[in-house]
Structures are given as structure tokens and as C-alpha cells.
């Protein structure tokens, strides 16, 4: 029997666990088709199709899913609700499978992920039943996908400790993973910073050593999975001695409108120069270059 293909959009939720999902489905015996890295064509398609007021990140996701449409047997769009500590994902994630079932004909695979109620393994065993996979093979697939994820994260960690020893000016970039790692979306901000003689560090590379201790003193209590974590990471990052901080937000990101107030406050209190960048489909590379150069002039 020929292997069925599952399409995974290289956007939004993909960047939250970029290694886990492809590895999981490959272990289960599916072929994986990952949409290509964002490009102009994909973004334009997404912007046309998505609601004009939805955030830029959702528009990018529309583009990726439309690229997959017609090329695969299934499209993977999980319904992400809550993480292990019962913190919610952005409410725009909740309805993604419903929204895309309106516009694509390809069947959508959408496990209901509420890790506050069910562990990931149990959720996926249940989900496996629906796609005709046995409990045992699903469990094994989860295990090895976890290992893969761990391995890759370890590499990031090693990289981080190398970076903080660097004599260059260290710049923290605070944002969501789907803005940080999608180079087309953030207009290659990391490369630009490194070219200007800085050392770009992504916020999600910063470890939280004792999660519980670090998260305790954060106020307000965010109900989003990224809020407290990001603020704790910022506190840790400030300790290593950084020269500047940049926050990247997608235009119309509702969560960032709240988060920005506190991220900015954190850096300002530590007297670290702070640059706030809004990105959307109209942002131009030349404009970003100028702003980054000006920002570098303000650093000591």
C-alpha cells in the first residue's frame, strides 16, 4: 500500500514544536510534506484569503495551508487549547481547524490538545485510533519524537552558552517562535543584527533554570502559555549583560498588545535600549535596516 502524505504548514503552531510533529508522523509511517519556507507568493496568497483584520501570523498560516491544498492527502492543523500547566494558547489557535475546513477540501487532521486534561500521549493515542493506528505504535512514535525534540533542543542550549561568551554586543530578540524562526516574516532580522556587529539571541533560547522559582514573582499572572515564561526569560537574559533588546510583533497580534507593556517595562527598568518592531506584509527590508542601524548607534 502506498504511503499517505500529511501536509504540515511551516507556520504558526509548527514553530512551537518544529521537530516533534514531523518526527511523530514519520514514525507512524506517513510521508510528510512540509510547506516551503515563507516567500512572497505564499504571503500574498494568505493575505488575500484571510480576514483583513486578523493578525499577520494567521495570514501567513493561510498562505502555507493554501500552498498545501491539493498536494497532500491530509493537512495537519491541531486544535491547541492548553499546555501542561493549564495555561491557554492564543484564542485564535482554538478555531483554526474550523476556519480552514471552510476553505480547503483536503481532510484536516486536528487532534484536540488540552494537556491540562489529558497528557500528550493519551491525546495522541486517541487521535491515532481515528486515523487507524494502534496504541502501541502511537506510543512508540511519541517516545522517539520526544527524543528527537530533546536532542535538537540540546543543540540550541549549547549554542546559547557559546553565544553569551561572545565579546560582541548581545542583542535579545523577544517574540513568538513563529516570528523568530520564519526569516521571511522577520525580514532576516537576525542576520542583519549579526552583520551590524551584534550577537542576536532569541528569547526562547534563554533557559529558565528553575521554572517554578522564576515564574513565581512574575506579575501579572498571564493566562497565556508564553506570557510568564517570556517575562522570566527576559529577567534571566538581563542578568547575563545584554546591550540592547528588540521586540518583534506581528501587526494585530492581540496578545502582544498586552505583553508589550510589560516587556518594555522590564527592559526600561534595567536601562536597556529597547526597540519595538511591528511587522506585516507591508514592512520593507530597507526600512528595517535603517531602524536597526539607528538602534545600534544608540547602544554603548
Amino acid at each position: 500500500m502506498e504511503k499517505k502524505t500529511i501536509g504540515i504548514p511551516r507556520a504558526l503552531f509548527y514553530w512551537k514544536e518544529p521537530f516533534f510533529w514531523p518526527a511523530f508522523f514519520e514514525n507512524l509511517g506517513f510521508k510528510i510534506l512540509l510547506s516551503p519556507e515563507s516567500n512572497r507568493e505564499i504571503i500574498e496568497k494568505g493575505v488575500k484569503m484571510a480576514d483583513s483584520e486578523s493578525c499577520f501570523s494567521i495570514k501567513v498560516l493561510y498562505g502555507h495551508i493554501l500552498w498545501l491544498e491539493g498536494k497532500v492527502d491530509f493537512i495537519f492543523i491541531p486544535r491547541l487549547k492548553k499546555n501542561e500547566s493549564k495555561l491557554e494558547y492564543c484564542p485564535k489557535f482554538f478555531a483554526l481547524p474550523d476556519l480552514f475546513s471552510l476553505i480547503v477540501k483536503t481532510p484536516i487532521l486536528s487532534p484536540w490538545i488540552d494537556l491540562g486534561k489529558n497528557s500528550l500521549e493519551n491525546t495522541l493515542v486517541k487521535f491515532g485510533k481515528k486515523i487507524g493506528k494502534e496504541k502501541k505504535s502511537v506510543k512508540e512514535a511519541v517516545k522517539s519524537a520526544f527524543l528527537k525534540e530533546k536532542e535538537e533542543k540540546l543543540k540550541i542550549k549549547e549554542n546559547y552558552f557559546k553565544k553569551i561568551k561572545s565579546p560582541k554586543r548581545k542583542i535579545i530578540i523577544a517574540s513568538h517562535p513563529y516570528n523568530l524562526y520564519d526569516e521571511y516574516v522577520n525580514l532576516r532580522a537576525k542576520k542583519k543584527i549579526n552583520d551590524l556587529g551584534g550577537e542576536a539571541i532569541f528569547i526562547d533560547e534563554v533557559p529558565i533554570s528553575q521554572p517554578l522559582e522564576d515564574l513565581k514573582n512574575i506579575s501579572p499572572k498571564f493566562h497565556w502559555e508564553f506570557g510568564q515564561e517570556m517575562l522570566a526569560q527576559i529577567k534571566n537574559a538581563i542578568k547575563i549583560g545584554i546591550s540592547g533588546a528588540i521586540e518583534i510583533s506581528a501587526f494585530q497580534c492581540g496578545c502582544d498588545a498586552v505583553l508589550k507593556e510589560f516587556v518594555e517595562k522590564e527592559f526600561k527598568q534595567a536601562k536597556i535600549p529597547f526597540l519595538y518592531l511591528l511587522i506585516d506584509e507591508h514592512t520593507a527590508e530597507a526600512g528595517l535596516q535603517t531602524r536597526l542601524e539607528a538602534f545600534f548607534d544608540t547602544l554603548h
Binding site: D51, E53, S54, R79, K81, E88, C90, P91, K92, F94, A95, P97, D98, L99, L102, I103, P220, H223, S249, Q252, C253, G254, C255, D256, A257, V258, K260, E261, K265, L278
Partner: protein, 356 residues
């Protein structure tokens, strides 16, 4: 402690009397108007949702008149940004140099906070119950009044009578302090409404208003949409109001019933009143309405999420649909033009179905 609260359409009257009956000195917030919106938007974070900016604008004149405490509801049940309103508002006002405190109430701390208030203001449980009862009666009365006005506006023979009765009654309501006066006012206003001469045979189009509760209810924010549509000859209906919102959680199976109704379009909550918008739209379509208007603050997370679904329903059920996002940039004239075009569309659709 001098308290103020966000202005929210005609409900402000009821909130005012509630706080006064609880023994606070209550300073009424400035009614929402273009100037309030402008001032609020100046201070607020640019990308935050619109109601927060309006609230700040409402508070500023009240603070100048001596208010030092702001009461804000923290919506810990919903998934949207409303739960951070109190933190952000306190931060914004403090950074602007105002020494104010924001008292946040939520479903978890409500009882303990009320007990604190009872102690500090020396309010007996009996008085508390009375205040709450009066509050709900007032809310109910305000909603019924608005409904009456929605019915009479398109049908009255002499323009403006319904609004005159509505405004007079609301003015008197601010001076009403006990249940006896309230029931007299009720009788009086129903009498006045019944004296309005109407054209009974007139064919009136029915339009449903759905969307985010704050913008749907507050005439100051939505440029008196009720009145505008009424004078254009439409009977406005809106299901979503404070009573409906409060009833949503009691009894607990309401939540389940709501989900069952929208399940074929949306399988989960998206925060705010996203699911309610879908449910109301389906309901209006079933009842044979001529059109639906969707109101939301620009970039409102739940409403933006469900908007593609609402558009889909509009296509499937052939129900005219207009979505209007409101923020500090929205101009009244632009809205008027869009509404007129939409009314024309509904009229021609009705004629088309009548002819065929």
C-alpha cells in the same frame, strides 16, 4: 474613596445607583463622545482594543472631578484581553501621573470583596440584597425601554416621539432611588409609549445586531446605531445584552446548549462572545430576518476569529451581512453611508423575493 466606573450606554445609570446604594461616593464617568474617545486614545497603548481606550477617556473627566478609585471587572473566564484591562488601565493612568487605584473584581474574589465593602461601608446583608435587586430591576427596565424604542421608531407617525419618551424616562430614572418609584416610572413610560400613534400596516424590515457586547450595547460608541437604523425604517433586534450575558453561565448547562447549537460551525469557545455571535446569526436566519449587522472593536480577537464563519453562514442562508469595526478612526459619515447602502441591499432583496 470616590468611585468611578466605565461608561457603558444606559447601563451606567444602574451601575451608578448600585455603587451609591453600597455606600460609595460615586462620580459619574463622562458620557462617551468623540472628544472622550480622542483623549482616551492619546493615553492608551495603540494596539490595544478599542473599549479600553474609551474607558480611559471616560475616566479622565471623572478623575478631575475627584474620583480616586476605578472599579473594573476582570473577566477570568474568557480568553480575551478583557482580563488585562484593569492592569493596563492602572498602568496607563499611573504613568500619566494620576494617583488612582483600580479595584478589580472577578468571579473568584467577588464574595470576599463584597464582604470587605460591607465591613468598611457598614452595609447590612439586607441592604446589600436590596441594592443588588434594585440594580437588576433597573437593568431589566432599561433593556425593555430600549426594546420598546426599537419597535416604535420605524412605525411612529411623527418622527422622534419614541426617542423623546426614551430620553425623558432615562432622565427620570437617574433620580429614582427605590422600587416604588421605579414601578411608577415604569407604568408612566409604558403609558406614554402606548400614546404614540403608529402606522400599523407599514412593512418594516427586521435587522439583527450581533457582535461584541460593549459595542453592541453602547450607543455612544456605535454612533447610536439603534436610532440610525430605526429612523431609516428598520426594526432593530439585539439579543445580546447584560441580562443575557449574566444568564449565560446559569444554569451551567446553558454553555453546553450553546455549544450544541453552533457545533457544525465551531467546535470550541474562542473567548468573548464569539460563539454567541454564530448562535444569534443562525437564530435570526431561522426567524426570517432581512439582514444582520456585526459590530466589533477593531481587531477584537474573538469576533475576528468567527467573522469568516459568519460570512459563510451569510452565503449559505442568503442573509445580507454587514460587519463594522469600530475604533477611534471610525467616522460617523462613513458609517452612515455603509448603513444606507446596506439598507438598500436588504430592500431590493426583499422585493426580489416578493416578486418571485
Amino acid at each position: 474613596m470616590k468611585i468611578t466606573f466605565a461608561d457603558w450606554g444606559n447601563y451606567t445609570i444602574a451601575f451608578g445607583s448600585l455603587f451609591q446604594k453600597l455606600g460609595f461616593e460615586f462620580i459619574f464617568p463622562e458620557k462617551t463622545n468623540p472628544r472622550v474617545i480622542e483623549e482616551g486614545a492619546k493615553l492608551s497603548p495603540e494596539l490595544f482594543c478599542f473599549p479600553l481606550k474609551v474607558n480611559i477617556g471616560n475616566y479622565l473627566p471623572a478623575i478631575k472631578r475627584g474620583a480616586d478609585t476605578i472599579v473594573m471587572w476582570e473577566n477570568i473566564g474568557g480568553s480575551c484581553r478583557m482580563r488585562y484591562y484593569w492592569v493596563i488601565q492602572e498602568k496607563v493612568l499611573r504613568e500619566a501621573g494620576f494617583k488612582v487605584k483600580v479595584l478589580n473584581f472577578n468571579s473568584q474574589n467577588l464574595l470576599s470583596k463584597i464582604r470587605e465593602i460591607q465591613k468598611s461601608n457598614q452595609i447590612s446583608s439586607w441592604q446589600l440584597l436590596g441594592a443588588v435587586r434594585f440594580f437588576f430591576k433597573e437593568i431589566n427596565f432599561i433593556e425593555k425601554l430600549e426594546e420598546k424604542a426599537q419597535y416604535f421608531r420605524p412605525r411612529e407617525k411623527e418622527r422622534g416621539q419614541a426617542d423623546q419618551v426614551l430620553n425623558e424616562t432615562l432622565k427620570k430614572l437617574t433620580q429614582t432611588t427605590n422600587l416604588k418609584e421605579l414601578s411608577e416610572l415604569k407604568k408612566e413610560s409604558w403609558q406614554k409609549f402606548s400614546e404614540i400613534k403608529i402606522d400599523g400596516n407599514k412593512e418594516v424590515l427586521k435587522v439583527g445586531i450581533i457582535g461584541e457586547i460593549y459595542t453592541v450595547v453602547d450607543g455612544g460608541v456605535n454612533f447610536d446605531l439603534d436610532k440610525k437604523l430605526g429612523t431609516m425604517g428598520l426594526n432593530v433586534h439585539r439579543k445580546l445584552n447584560l441580562t443575557q450575558h449574566l444568564k449565560g453561565g446559569f444554569p451551567p448547562w446553558n454553555e453546553w446548549l450553546l455549544q450544541r447549537k453552533v457545533n457544525s460551525y465551531l467546535k470550541t469557545t474562542v473567548g468573548g462572545h464569539g460563539r454567541q455571535a454564530i448562535e444569534e446569526m443562525l437564530d435570526y436566519s431561522k426567524k426570517g430576518f432581512d439582514g444582520v449587522i456585526h459590530l466589533l472593536p477593531f481587531g477584537c480577537m474573538p469576533e475576528i476569529t468567527v467573522r469568516p464563519i459568519l460570512q459563510k453562514i451569510s452565503q449559505e442562508k442568503e442573509l445580507p451581512f454587514l460587519s463594522i469595526s469600530l475604533d477611534e478612526q471610525t467616522a460617523e459619515v462613513g458609517m452612515q453611508t455603509r448603513l444606507e447602502a446596506f439598507v438598500d441591499l436588504m430592500k431590493s432583496k426583499q422585493q426580489l423575493t416578493a416578486n418571485s
